[in-house]
């Protein structure tokens, strides 16, 4: 029993899936790895390959390798982690309102007045007409960015 070799591919696969899942907040900080979370999927793929090798060893060469019990447990946990990851990136973050009534190209953006970070009221009209710092001319345009916020 104790002579059987440690099936390290199993733990490598599990670790890769875990890291692939847990590293998303880090990779989400950069648009190139957030818009399509390819680094996470790459980690899952390598983890899956390691699992494949480990299962072949655990069940095909069970005289030589361990992992018949740990394999299915770690495998199930990894599938759950990858499944939850897919649920987040393919479903959860896409549950957005359609916003069909949002201003379209060619429409005038509705006027508003809101407080800035110093609690001073700022209107859209003032943003469009106030010259930029160091110039005499009003800006050529304004970018409005609505974001979810940090609450």
């Amino acid at each position: 029993m104790n002579k059987r070799l440690w099936n390290w591919h199993l733990w490598a696969g599990f670790l890769l899936c875990l890291v692939g899942f847990a590293s998303f907040p880090f990779f989400a900080r950069f648009p190139v790895t957030r818009d399509v979370p390819w680094v996470n999927f790459l980690l899952f793929a390598i983890g899956g390959a390691a699992f494949f090798v480990s299962f072949k060893r655990a069940f095909g060469q069970s005289q030589q390798y361990r992992g018949k019990i740990a394999g299915p447990i770690l495998g199930t946990l990894s599938v759950l982690a990858v499944g939850f990851f897919c649920y987040i990136v393919f479903y959860m973050t896409r549950q957005l309102p359609v916003s069909a009534g949002a201003p379209h190209v060619g429409q005038k953006a509705p006027e508003f007045v809101l407080p800035d970070t110093t609690n001073q009221p700022v209107s859209l009209a003032s943003l469009l007409s106030t010259p930029l710092v160091g110039t005499q001319m009003p800006p050529k345009g304004v970018v409005l960015v609505f974001y979810r916020g940090y609450w």
Binding site: A28, P31, R34, D35, V89, T93, R94, L96, P97, S99, A100, G101, A102, P103, H104, V105, G106, Q107, K108, A109, P110, E111, F112, L114, P115, D116, T117, T118, N119, V122, L124, A125, L127, L128, P138, P139, K140, G141, V142, V143, L144, V145, F146, Y147, R148, G149, Y150, W151
Partner: protein, 90 residues
């Protein structure tokens, strides 16, 4: 400029930490967000109503020249896209 339901204090902290120098406006009751039909009901951490991500480029007369309404809130407009759209402004 940027708009969210965050308070001026939260936005001030954000600007200080991230080094943003453009205007941040607060719409805690989501009145303007609602007027723009960008309300995402109950999507905040504690079920508050917040804004869905959206970016608009307005010309000097306040007319929308370019808009981005993402279908996935992980995916936002990139600065290059907005700069490219802004090149068409006169």
């Amino acid at each position: 400029m940027a708009i969210s339901v965050d308070t001026p204090e939260t936005s001030r902290d954000l600007c200080r930490k991230a080094g943003y120098t453009y205007t941040f406006l607060s719409d805690p009751k989501a009145e303007v967000i609602r007027r723009y039909d960008l309300l995402h009901q109950g999507a905040g951490v504690n079920g508050q109503d917040i804004a869905r991500p959206a970016e608009f480029l307005l010309d000097s007369s306040g007319v929308v020249r370019w808009v981005n309404l993402t279908e996935d809130y992980r995916v936002r407009a990139r600065p290059e896209q907005i700069i490219e759209a802004a090149k068409a402004l006169k």
